[in-house]
Amino acid sequence: MASKPLFIMLASGEHEKIQLAAMIASVAAVSDRPVQVFVTMNAILAFRRGLTAEQRYHGGYFHEQFVTKNVPDAIDLFEQGKMLGEMQMWACSLVLDLNHWDAEKDLVEGLFDGPAGLAKFLADAEEGELITL
């Protein structure tokens, strides 16, 4: 039986929550479970193009250990999930508009499938399970 699709709403800019979202998304995607990720609020700041890990990630008890030890980078995990499984990532159009950002120019190259609104994401999420971080 096919697994229910997994929908992840990532709103927190805290490194621990971004890391957990990346782990859940990538592992689910490579386990034959379709995944959609909606990135909004503070979380979008971590996906800005051209940042170093030090600039990108902040917050959480394990933050320092994530960046100093050999823990997979969250952006790399999202990319692996997309490459090896069925996964789509959407950038919240509200926060893009507020920051005057363009999903294709201002976010990590090749990671997002486009801007999206909350209503469509929530409607799609009725087909599966929704996790909010």
């Binding site: 490579v30 823990v71 692996q80 090896l84």
Partner: protein, 76 residues
Amino acid sequence: MAERQTVDARGAFCPGPLMELIAALKLASVGDEVEVLSSDKGSVNDIPAWVAKVGHQFVGSTELDGYWSVVVKKAK
């Protein structure tokens, strides 16, 4: 003829060893085996669960000197 390759993921934390295994399996042929060397005990438990979920074959795991050898056969 089936082949075996080794992926050295020692030092990588979860889910690094699993993701490296999956990348190697993607490039392997059906019947090939991939051996992952992992110092992350969580991954040693995770890999058989992932293999069962997606339908590959878990060959076995062996504890070595501070790390594990986990072998998976590509079944599809």
